[in-house]
């Protein structure tokens, strides 16, 4: 009974507890990096890049309520900008990363300005169609090497940081992920984030309250595009090759899948979804684990998703919340 009478706790300290988990996780990954085998190291890098990509879409889908099915276009454009912008002897990271993010943001501004005129189902399909348009530009013209794609001969560098080295790339990706997460977490707590949440819940009311909702949505769309471009930059720097399939709608579908799998409305959900999806795909296509079914991983993955939709509508975060009511971010 005393609990009722206790006065409310004072406001949280400067670095609140909710930062503790993500920061500790990042530090743990950073500490473990040198000990990982090349296979594990590559897998972790892959997951982290996908997590950035997923987080960028979470800003649209989870935070603003805009379901885009063309997000891979910005990812692919970021990657292409990196390769096309690199001089033969290797480019400067400090120039290429902003170039990749800027190109993706530029296309996002164009796509967003047009597609945000539509709503709901239309929006889903219009973003999809615009992504296809970008796909065909790279696929059908010689501009980006056509359907074969193009190679990046020397990876970007900046001072002592040289992405030709595995560990350097690892830490850059980790830093990018941490920065993306931090940026989105800050946005969420800001006035801007609150406005986006308001738009997601009831756009009409927000407009009536005097918010220029179109501008807010467009800003979110452009930021999400730039962050997807960042993920694209990292992939180009990792693989040293880009091809039009990076922009294909399968990619857009997969990243949407990740954030739904993780649980919408939570930044942790997006990261969790990227981890779960990549691991699931990796497991289902490993011969040693599933035997001959490994060749048909699409079938098992498809069935797994169907089961997931049927029984876990709230995502993995929802599962955690069901196990312990205090769980979830």
């Amino acid at each position: 009974m005393t609990a009722v009478l206790t006065p409310k706790l004072p406001p949280a300290p400067a670095l609140p507890r909710r930062w503790l988990g993500p920061v500790l996780a990042a530090l743990a990954i950073a500490a473990l990096a040198p000990t990982l085998s090349p296979y594990l190291g590559d897998l972790v890098v892959k997951v982290m890049i996908l997590a950035i990509f997923a987080l960028s879409l979470e800003l649209l889908v989870g935070m603003t309520g805009l379901v885009s099915l063309g997000h891979a276009a910005f990812f692919g454009i970021g990657a292409y900008a990196t390769v096309l912008g690199s001089p033969e002897g290797g480019g400067n990271l400090a120039a290429l990363m902003p170039l990749a993010m800027g190109s993706a943001a530029g296309y996002a501004l164009f796509v967003g300005a047009l597609s945000l005129r539509t709503k709901g189902v239309y929006f889903i399909m219009v973003t999809l169609a615009f992504a296809q348009m970008a796909y065909f530009v790279f696929h059908d013209t010689r501009f980006g090497g056509g359907s074969d794609g193009i190679y990046l001969y020397v990876r970007p560098r900046l001072g002592p940081l040289d992405l030709e080295q595995r560990l350097h790339l690892f830490y850059l990706v980790l830093a990018a992920l941490a920065a993306t997460y931090g940026l989105l977490a800050t946005l969420r707590r800001s006035r801007f984030g609150a406005a986006l949440a308001g738009i997601r819940v009831n756009e009409q009311r927000m407009r009536a309250a005097g918010f220029p909702t179109y501008g807010y949505k467009l800003a979110a769309f452009v930021i999400a595009g730039a962050l997807a471009g960042l993920a694209g930059f990292l992939v180009a720097a990792r693989d040293g090759v880009v091809n039009p399939e990076m922009l294909s709608w399968h990619g857009s579908g997969e990243v949407l899948l990740m954030i739904i799998l993780g649980g919408l409305g939570h930044l942790r959900g997006a990261v969790l979804g990227a981890v779960a999806f990549t691991l699931l795909k990796e497991l289902l296509s490993t011969q040693a684990l599933v035997g001959p079914l490994a060749d048909h991983w699409q079938l098992t993955l498809g069935l797994a998703i169907i089961g997931f939709v049927a029984w876990l509508p709230k995502g993995l975060i929802g599962l955690a919340a069901r196990v312990s009511p205090k769980g979830g971010a």
């Binding site: 379901v67 047009l114 399909m125 065909f136 059908d140 709608w249 498809g302 169907i306």
Partner: protein
């Protein structure tokens, strides 16, 4: 470009547009009535093409009988599919439907690869439609393509009559304009959904079967058709069959003539068309304002 070439390109445009219409009409109805974004709709087109490929040897010359059998099979398939995978999705968000239908694509593609393999196949044009007729000069046009256009026109008319002149059509139109009201009026919506879905699947499969002898039958053929049909549906306005027809023809012409004039950038043409129309009318040509 001389007159005969122009004529051939026009015929090609119309034929491609009409074929798109068969797939897109089902898509737009499923959207409009059930509110489901069916990403797997392209797979039904693929299903039809592969049905044609596997049924053709058994039916030999009986091409029309084969089409009828294929339509029946795919309608039953669609009916069962709706019952198993879609019936519980209507109350959910769009996202869940996107997820489910995306998963179905994966499953269908993999089943196809297990059952038929990953090779590109051809389907023979039936002997009574083989050959082509002259259009004057050196130009000629294959009979089968003309048959395909005629069949599509016939189907479009039939669809129009069903939707506008029958009791079922009335329910469909009512469902497209206000789902909840239809339910409120005591119409068995579950059954209506199942019929519409089965019909959409059958139409898409029929389009696939008709297209099979003209294009080859290949893995992933559903995906490309699906995206083009999305464009058609968006241009035409969701839930509008007339809109889908106009948009299909428009897309057919833009795509065909785009290939003639701007071979390099032809893939983009229809998306540019869509962008222009959306700037002008965000709800599509015949869509209702939301």
């Amino acid at each position: 470009m001389d007159v005969a070439t122009f004529l051939v390109q026009c015929l090609n445009s119309v034929q491609y547009g009409l074929l798109l219409f068969l797939v897109a009409s089902g898509l737009t109805l499923i959207f409009g009535i059930m509110g489901v974004i069916n990403l797997a709709h392209g797979s039904f087109y693929m299903l039809g093409a592969y049905l044609a490929f596997s049924l053709a040897p058994a039916f030999g010359d009986q091409f029309l009988l084969m089409l009828a059998t294929g339509v029946l099979l795919s309608a039953v398939f669609g009916y069962l599919l709706e019952w198993a995978f879609f019936s519980f999705l209507y109350q959910r968000e769009h996202l869940q439907q996107v997820l489910m239908t995306y998963a179905l694509i994966l499953v269908f593609e993999e089943l196809r690869s297990i059952l038929v393999g990953n090779d590109v196949h051809g389907v023979k044009v039936p002997p009574w439609l083989d050959g082509s007729f002259s259009l004057g000069g050196l130009m000629s046009y294959p009979w089968y393509r003309l048959f395909a256009s005629a069949a599509c026109v016939l189907l479009a008319v039939a669809l129009y009559l069903v939707v506008n002149r029958t009791r079922l059509g009335m329910m469909i139109r009512a469902g497209a304009s206000n789902r909840d009201m239809v339910r409120g009026l005591g119409i068995d919506v579950t059954r209506l959904y199942r019929i519409v879905f089965a019909g959409g699947v059958a139409l898409a499969a029929l389009a696939g079967m008709i297209a099979a002898p003209m294009s080859s039958v290949y893995p992933g053929m559903g995906g490309s058709v699906l995206i083009v049909c999305f464009v058609v549906v968006v241009i035409g306005g969701i839930g509008s069959i007339t809109g889908a027809l106009i948009a299909s023809l428009l897309v057919g012409f833009v795509d065909t003539f785009g290939k003639v004039f701007f071979a390099e950038l032809s893939g983009m043409g229809i998306y540019v068309l869509m962008a222009i129309i959306l700037i002008w009318r965000p709800e599509g040509l015949l869509g209702r304002k939301t």
